[in-house]
């Protein structure tokens, strides 16, 4: 088997991964850093982020305000030391990106423009029209091209982390174009593989978001933190799940029920005003807005279409000029995918799975409990998002914590000597698993699409916006049986060249593991907090659950849930108040 060595290996070429790679190259120019990704970096899901990235830049704003919005938005499950580092380093990271060429939208005088966003008390969201993630990703990717130290493995699919003597020392990966199985030895590995929205049927997430890194870390012994916290974004297009950015509401859009009534006023989110008011009504946090939709549906006040219930997002009153200047992608997506022009018609929307607050447990430097293994971005949980992430914090998070993980991994790598001798044997075992378990395997009766559809149904029925003990318990059993049936998978494709059926099978196995941690973490958290709402435990319970859940892989492959305390620095747990 081919063996390649480098100093720092970054898995994932999205925003967090690319920022991490640049941080390695800049702080330790002698280290060799490699970015390995199952897609070309510019295809990464960062590309789909729309609304913006938060950082304090204006005179009327302050770091404490950004921290408080983030902490209260996360229903006090955020680690406040991490939030303080985050808000402090955010402006510099954003300016760095500006210097690298990101086409941020501007004020008439040439300064950075900011827009309001949900759950934020002061306008601090930088934006590049409504394609912020796209511009951020391409700017980062194009910038990485100037660093000689950064090498890339494009379209390599990682199947295993190599851990020996308690230290992560590389990966095994399939080179998609040839099907060759490669071993890459590294002194430190950073997982920046993004989220896992595809464990649910209806999601804004791209096809590639299967929790790969989460599952890899979990299998390697690292715990997954706060996995029960799944963000539903309140405004996705029915059927496709395409995201209509929060910026549409930030610019003044209204959410209307079937009677044309701004229903959020009935749910303690403030009074309707013609102009948007920060931390109020349509600019409330995403968890609350998605919950309001369900309540409204229960009252029979939503509309019904071929793809389920929906409400209306009305931006007609903003006018064509503002829409084209500030949120042109909203119009483009509606015209293309719904066949309506939001300048003249209302947009049908419903809540859609969007983001994982949980992820691989890391400290404030991106280090996981496994030595040599780091994580950043949506794959990680550091945790600044707590029980509910605020819109526009995640793009900033990938910069701040991508850079932090890069610096920490580089410093660690610089001090390591050679690799363990047993890695080759481990890699050989992994090669055999892939060959015998998939490529040369005959027989089997289960289809990928069938198992995936059943997983989707289980997750939607039990781990949606509202959850109960009974449904969750039943779901864990059903999912366990799916995991068993996965062993009897049948593949049509046994070839080596760009075998996307093989990668889909491996992705499904990642998703099944990750889904199981979501269910178990949700089952054990017998309270309601942020995006985790238990109808059988409707109150927040700080006494028992002001704590992060940690899902460890137990001997029998099922998750074992432990807890660790939340770090509180200056903001004692309080009530989340919006609209007043």
């Amino acid at each position: 088997m081919d063996l390649f060595t480098c100093d720092v290996l970054v898995v994932g070429g999205g925003g967090a991964g690319l920022r991490a790679a640049i941080a390695v190259a800049e702080t330790h120019p002698k280290l060799r850093v490699s970015v390995i990704s199952k897609v070309y970096p510019m295809r990464s899901h960062t590309v789909s982020a729309e609304g913006g990235a938060a950082a304090v830049i204006k005179a009327e704003d302050s770091l404490d305000e950004h921290a408080y919005d983030t902490i209260s938005g996360g229903d006090w499950l955020t680690d406040q030391d991490a939030v303080e580092a985050f808000v402090r380093e955010a402006p510099e990271e954003m300016l760095r990106l500006e210097h690298w060429g990101c086409p941020w939208s501007r004020e008439p005088d040439g300064h950075i423009a900011v827009r309001p966003f949900g759950g934020m008390k002061i306008e601090r969201t930088w934006f590049a029209a409504d394609k912020t993630g796209f511009h951020l990703l391409h700017t980062l990717f194009q910038t990485t091209l100037k660093y000689q130290a950064i090498e890339r493995f494009d379209e390599f699919f990682v199947t295993k982390l190599l851990v020996d003597e308690g230290r992560c020392q590389g990966v095994v990966a399939i080179e998609l174009s040839t099907g060759q199985i490669r071993t890459i030895i590294a002194k430190a590995v950073i997982l920046c593989t993004g989220g896992c929205g595809k464990v649910f049927p209806f999601t804004t997430n791209a096809n590639i978001k299967n929790g790969d890194g989460m599952a890899l870390a979990y299998r390697a012994g690292a715990p997954l933190k706060d996995m029960e916290f799944v963000q539903y974004h309140p405004t996705g297009l029915p059927f496709t799940g395409i995201l209509i950015t929060e910026a549409a509401r930030a610019e003044g859009g209204w959410l209307l029920n079937k009677d044309g009534y701004r229903y959020l006023q009935d749910y303690d989110l403030g009074k309707p005003t013609p102009k948007p008011v920060l931390r109020s009504m349509e600019l409330g946090p995403r968890d609350r807005l998605s919950q309001c939709f369900v309540k409204e549906q229960e009252k029979g006040r939503t509309l019904e279409g071929p793809y389920g219930h929906y409400v209306h997002l009305d931006i007609r009153h903003l006018g064509e000029k503002l829409i084209d200047r500030k949120i042109p992608f909203v119009r483009e997506l509606c015209l293309k995918y719904v066949g309506i022009d939001p300048v003249k018609e209302m947009i049908p929307v419903r809540p859609v799975v969007h983001y994982m607050m949980g992820g691989i447990h890391t400290d404030i430097h991106g280090a996981t409990p496994v030595r040599g293994l780091y994580a950043a971005g949506e794959a990680a949980c550091v945790s600044i998002n707590g029980a509910n992430r605020l819109g526009s914090n995640s793009l900033t998070e990938i910069l701040v914590f991508g850079a932090r993980a890069g610096r920490a991994a580089a410093a660690f790598a610089a001090e390591q000597a050679g690799a363990s001798s047993s890695l080759a044997a481990q890699a050989g075992d992994e090669q055999r698993r892939l060959e015998e378990g998939f490529l040369r395997k005959n027989g089997g009766s289960e289809r990928i699409a069938m198992l995936r559809a059943e997983m989707h149904q289980i997750m939607e029925e039990s781990a949606g916006i509202y959850r109960t003990e009974t449904a969750l318990k039943e779901a864990t059993g059903k999912l366990k049986r799916l995991q068993e049936r996965f062993q009897d998978l049948s593949l049509d494709d046994h070839s080596h060249t760009f075998n996307t059926e093989l990668t889909a099978a491996l992705e499904l196995s990642y998703m099944l593991d990750v889904a199981q941690t979501i269910l178990h973490s949700a089952l054990e958290r017998r309270e309601s907090r942020g995006s985790h709402q238990r109808t059988d435990y409707p109150q927040r319970d700080d006494e028992r659950f002001l704590a992060h859940s940690l899902a460890y892989r137990a001997e029998d492959d099922s998750p074992r849930i432990e807890y660790r305390p939340v770090t509180i620095t200056r903001w004692p747990p309080g009530k989340r108040v919006y609209g007043r």
Partner: protein, 247 residues
């Protein structure tokens, strides 16, 4: 509307065949479905061995470019309804080596992209602590359009020059070079012009404009190439008349 439609897909499995062949699948017709949904239906329910790239399904990641009835398209933004009663023919993009089925090899573009130095080049870089480089909305507008390129490769597949002369640096890479040249924060235009002139790339473009026609993001690479030719020609004339000026 029909209840089903025939989808004819180009297959190429290098481990078992030396030439591409066509395979036809009968798929249910749904008016909300794009061509990519039909391909996924094939993969999920009819034939798991069909390979193609896709990811965002919202026209921004650039993965799913293919030829649909002969024209380069993003298959996630191309509706079956526009092609009924069919048949609908799906093929890999032209002018790239085919790796497998609908998957083409992008190595050539990735190399060319790097050659045009698509990053900000400055004599002196400001520290982040010193604040942003000011850029007015008008200055942003001069290059914004060229920054919208999603690297989907439709323009290369449509470009007759690239088809004849694979060394041509190509529409997207030139548009991205121009995106930085026109950015008020950048000072690297001369460096990039040298690279483009060396590869005698832009001179071969006959301004057929096919690249601009197929671009799903209205980047107008043909316009970028035209602008470049003008700058290039001006500099060339200058270098003849005033040889010291380009040093």
């Amino acid at each position: 509307m029909p209840s089903s439609v025939a989808l004819t897909v180009s297959r190429y499995r290098p481990e078992r065949e030396s030439e591409p062949t066509f395979q036809t699948y009968e798929i249910p017709f749904r008016k909300d479905w794009v061509v990519l949904d039909a391909l996924n239906h094939v993969k999920d329910s009819l034939d798991g061995s069909l390979s193609f790239r896709w990811s965002c399904r919202m026209g921004v990641c650039g993965s799913c470019g293919m030829k649909v009835n002969g024209t380069p398209k993003l298959t996630c933004a191309t509706f079956l309804a526009d092609y009924v009663p069919g048949p609908i023919r799906v093929e890999p993009l032209d002018y790239f080596p085919v790796v497998r089925d609908l998957v083409v090899d992008l190595t050539d573009f990735m190399r060319k992209l790097k050659q045009v130095k698509p990053w900000i080049i400055r004599k002196e870089e400001k520290a982040p602590g010193d604040g942003e480089y000011l850029q007015t909305p008008d200055q942003l507008d001069t290059y914004k359009q060229f920054s919208m390129c999603i690297n989907c490769m439709l323009c290369y597949s449509a470009c007759p020059i690239y088809g004849l002369e694979p060394s041509f640096i190509g529409p997207a890479a030139i548009a991205l070079a121009q995106r930085y040249n026109m950015d008020s924060r950048d000072e690297g235009a001369a460096e990039r012009l040298k690279i483009l002139s060396e590869h005698d790339g832009i001179w071969q473009c006959t301004f057929v404009g096919e690249c601009t026609k197929v671009c799903p993001k209205h980047v107008d690479p043909a316009g970028a190439i035209q602008q470049y030719k003008l700058t290039g020609a001006t500099n060339w004339v200058k270098s003849l008349l005033l040889p010291w000026s380009t040093r």
